[in-house]
């Protein structure tokens, strides 16, 4: 370790570690400060742990369908939550160790401890003194938001990181906030055996996504026994009884053993110190190159609140590394896909239909249901659809929205083609392997052009 580097990175999450790796690749000497475990929220408390649990949840769900395929299970599957937890923790450990190995292989020094910007080019790390570098990348990430609901400070009202550390399955759970995190955890615990209720303030689940996806997701969750309350807020939480009693704004009372508060995340500004970096509405102000108001200080990832997604943080981290080393690069966030995991999955890239209609005079819509897709039917899971929005002037793909199994994988093809500005005319001509779920995307594009052969003729 030295005390003068080309670049200091604060935070070892997706934005920070990617920025450090890219900067090292570009030849810079880099030091990364992390107060906890490398990998950030994504690896430790978010994307990765939930995916481990979702795999378990899917296995439980598919076991319920085995009988219809002629597979006879002598007794229904039971969950050993301690093993599920250990399995999840092992995946997390392997990945965080992988991040550490990557950083070491690129000769990035790692410093443990709380790090705070104390001025341009200077970062103080608790227990390690002051680090100096011409450029600083702040990737402080975000924390779960708490709401000022009376009773929300009860120890039985958990945040997402708490619920992922449970070693038992609660008998019942109220999920406050039907966004991405709430919907994923609701699905996991419902499959694990909890009675789950979702309470969402907006009049639909996943309020930032395409409305049709919200509807399809709500229907799918209800089918799986999850109770959904839309357009209501939580007035108060009473934990004086054996379980929690929640009073909703429409007067409904909901009782549950535990509650999850998943109403969103906010930037963790603790790494800013008194440096005077400009902040607006709780988010660090950055330009497209990730530069903050202080020269030489950059802030990719959740800290700037632009897109709180790990893969958006990767993109912003790379852009910040380039910009910090004097090769300014814009973070391209227009075509960053967003995904909700579970069964079904929901995935989007580009504009929603409402956004598209404000931007374009005409929008041509192609819809292809998985019920008409051979692969989906054979898998027994033909829920959902692919919806594409096309600007009829030039065939530009404006947005793609998928709900159904494998949506998270299918969306990437759409993102690539949109980024390359390949139009609907070309996409409709690309042979897709048969039978695959990917065909549904191509068919939806063809439908938007009015030439889908695998849908009945209309009008």
């Amino acid at each position: 370790m030295r005390d003068e580097y080309d670049l200091i990175v604060v935070g070892g999450g997706p934005a920070g570690y990617v920025a450090a790796l890219r900067a090292a690749q570009l030849g810079a000497s880099v030091v990364l400060a992390e107060r906890d475990v490398l990998g950030g929220t994504c690896l430790n408390r978010g994307c990765i742990p939930t995916k481990s649990y979702l795999q378990t949840a899917e296995a439980i769900q598919s076991a319920r369908e085995w009988a219809s395929r002629g597979l006879i299970l002598d007794s229904p599957p039971r969950l050993d939550m301690k093993k599920a937890l250990a399995c999840k923790n092992q995946a997390v450990r392997r990945l965080t160790a992988g991040v550490k190995a990557l950083l070491e292989s690129r000769k990035v020094d790692i410093v443990r401890g709380n790090a705070v910007l104390v001025g341009s080019g200077r970062v103080e790390v608790e227990g390690s003194g002051i680090l100096r570098a011409p450029s600083v990348i702040l990737a402080g990430g975000s924390v779960s938001t708490r709401l000022p609901i009376p009773g929300a400070d009860s120890p039985r009202v958990l945040l997402s990181e708490d619920i992922l550390a449970l070693d038992r399955v609660p008998g019942s759970l109220v999920v406050i906030g039907g966004g991405v995190i709430g919907v994923e955890i609701a699905q996991i615990l419902s499959a694990f055996g909890s009675v789950v209720t979702i309470v969402e303030l907006e009049n639909r689940l996943l309020p930032t996504m395409e409305e049709d996806l919200s509807k399809a997701m709500a229907a799918a969750l209800k089918k799986r026994g999850i109770i959904v309350h839309l357009g209501v807020s939580v007035r108060s939480i009473d934990d004086s009884g054996a379980g929690l009693a929640l009073l909703l704004s429409d007067g409904t009372r909901v009782e549950a053993e535990l509650a999850l508060l998943s109403v969103g995340r906010r930037p963790d500004l603790s790494c800013l110190g008194d440096s005077g970096v400009a902040v607006e509405r709780g988010c660090v102000v950055v330009d497209d190159f990730m530069a903050t108001s202080l020269p030489g200080v950059f802030a990719p990832g959740d800290l700037n609140g632009r897109r709180m997604l790990a893969h958006a943080a990767f993109e912003m981290g790379e852009a910040a590394a380039h910009s910090a080393l004097g090769h300014p690069r814009r973070a391209e966030l227009d075509l960053v896909p967003s995904v909700v995991y579970g069964s079904p999955e929901a995935a989007s890239v580009g504009l929603t239909e409402a956004e598209a209609r404000t931007r374009c005079e005409n929008v041509s819509i192609g819809l292809f249901p998985f019920a008409a897709n051979g692969r989906a039917l054979c898998s027994g899971d033909s829920e959902g659809f692919v919806k594409v929005l096309v600007d009829p002037r030039f065939g530009e793909l404006l947005g793609v929205h998928i709900v159904g199994a494998c949506a998270s994988e299918l969306i990437n093809e759409a993102a690539i083609l949109m980024r390359m500005e390949v139009t609907a005319f070309e996409i409709a001509e690309v042979a897709h392997a048969h039978p695959t779920r990917s065909e549904a995307f191509m068919e939806a594009v063809a439908a938007a052009l009015g030439r889908c052969v695998h849908l009945p003729a209309r009008g």
Binding site: L367, V390, F394, L449, G450
Partner: protein
């Protein structure tokens, strides 16, 4: 079983036709041999006749559409019969989902014909097929069939497909978007180029220039008719390929015009058909061709074919463009017969009622714009012919008579434009002098 009606191949060179008008409606009974539609080939408008008795049960291509030969344009069947579904392939843009009914009418991205075929030139079809591209993937310029240039531009584009389409829709060449660094131009580059072009466009005055008020004169775009397109292509090719030379002379037509008056006066007793000066020039030309066979020839690769018959193309201006019907065996017709046929051909050319075979087989062409006072011009040779006679105006001139006194003569301007590969200067002069001599020896023409 319903029978399809196709766009006929009405001539060897015909690759597509335009449906001018339907003469029958769906549900109308039709008889074999009865005209059901008007179609325009590259040369003429003709009636399309039903080949069987029945009911016109479906019209699949609409008036105004360009249709490749042999493509289905309608169906004839029995009352109550419908078009075999698999074959009607009506490509109505269908969008899915009841919530998106509104999108249905908006889904027209390209304008396929109702059988799904796009308007495209045969060359475009061939190129696209060679490049393994679907026509529908090629951006056309608004309102035009996809042509070969559209295909070529799209194949070697340095722009993303979206940028390429945006540029072409605004009439910009996608190649012009190319970035200096060799990377592909994107939609933002296209949008910037379109904005620049719009600023630079003379049709949008800058703020410093105020157009005169009360005179709204906007640019208008006229599409070439099928005839004009084909004619244009041929003229360009001829102009580019042939080393042409033009020679000029004036013929004393005083006697000929006097003879014409006497002929017409005499004929007027029995017929209303008058002999025109042009008829007499055509006649002189036909006889001169007989004596100068190299002028009555067609270029055939590395040689010439001296044609056995003398079939003279008569250039006729029509509303739809230049038409050149053929006066067959012009040297063998009697003068009245020749005049009658010429008048008939010219009239039907103007009404676009010529048969395709009446537009083929010419061995020489005559173009006459003398009636507009034009003295001389150099028409373009009608390939593969080797020459064209340009007939100009008649001028009154004073010339010295036999007695040394000035006399008034009517002098006819003539030009002869020829393919120098097929004829040299002396040969061409001999031919034009023959024409001049025959005109001046007026009575020879009626022999």
């Amino acid at each position: 079983m319903a029978t399809k009606v196709i766009m006929p191949k009405a001539g060897m060179a015909m690759e597509e036709g335009v449906l001018v008008a339907w003469l029958k409606k769906v549900g109308d009974p039709v008889k074999s041999g009865e005209a059901i539609a008007e179609i325009e080939t590259d040369k003429a408008i003709m009636d399309l006749e039903a080949e069987l008795d029945g009911i016109l049960i479906a019209i699949v291509r609409q008036a105004g559409e360009h249709v490749a030969v042999t493509q289905t344009i309608a169906w004839i069947g029995k009352a109550g019969e419908s078009v075999p579904e698999a074959l009607s392939s009506a490509a109505v843009p269908a969008t899915e989902g009841s919530a998106h009914k509104r999108a249905q009418s908006e889904a027209v991205i390209v304008a396929p014909g109702s059988d799904g075929r796009l308007a495209a030139t045969p060359a475009a079809r061939r190129l696209a097929s060679e490049a393994g591209m679907e026509l529908a993937s090629i951006p056309a310029r608004a309102g035009n069939p996809i042509n070969a240039d559209d295909v070529r531009r799209h194949v070697r584009s340095d722009a993303t497909p979206l940028a390429s389409r945006m540029a072409q829709a605004s009439g910009l060449d996608p190649a012009s978007l190319a970035r200096g660094d060799g990377s592909r131009a994107r939609s933002a580059d296209a949008a910037a180029a379109i904005a620049n072009a719009a600023q630079a466009s003379p049709s949008r005055p800058t703020s410093s220039y105020q157009p005169p008020t009360g005179l709204p004169r906007e640019d208008r775009r006229l599409s070439f008719s099928a005839i004009q397109r084909i004619t244009g292509e041929r003229l360009s090719r001829s102009h580019a390929e042939i080393p042409s030379v033009s020679i000029f002379t004036v013929a004393d037509a005083t006697e000929l015009l006097a003879a014409r008056e006497r002929i017409n006066a005499a004929r007027g007793l029995t017929s209303n058909l008058k002999v025109s000066l042009n008829d007499l020039v055509v006649r002189a030309c036909a006889k001169a061709l007989l004596a100068n066979p190299r002028a009555n020839a067609v270029v055939d690769g590395d040689g010439l074919i001296l044609k056995g018959g003398i079939h003279i193309g008569l250039a006729v201006a029509t509303d739809a463009g230049l038409q050149v019907p053929t006066l067959r065996d012009a040297d063998r017709l009697s003068l009245p017969e020749q005049a009658l046929r010429s008048k008939d051909l010219a009239e039907r050319a103007r009404a676009r009622r010529l048969r395709p075979d009446e537009l083929e087989g010419g061995t020489f062409t005559i173009s006459n714009i003398g009636m507009y006072g034009i003295t001389s011009f150099t028409p373009i040779i009608n390939q593969p012919q080797v020459g064209i006679l340009g007939v100009g105006a008649i001028e009154d001139r004073l010339v010295l008579g036999a007695d040394g006194q000035p006399v008034q003569r009517k002098m006819l301007h003539l030009s002869f434009t020829f393919d120098h590969r097929a004829m040299d200067g002396v040969e061409s002069a001999a031919f034009l002098v023959s024409v001049k001599g025959l005109i001046e020896a007026a009575l020879i023409l009626v022999l």
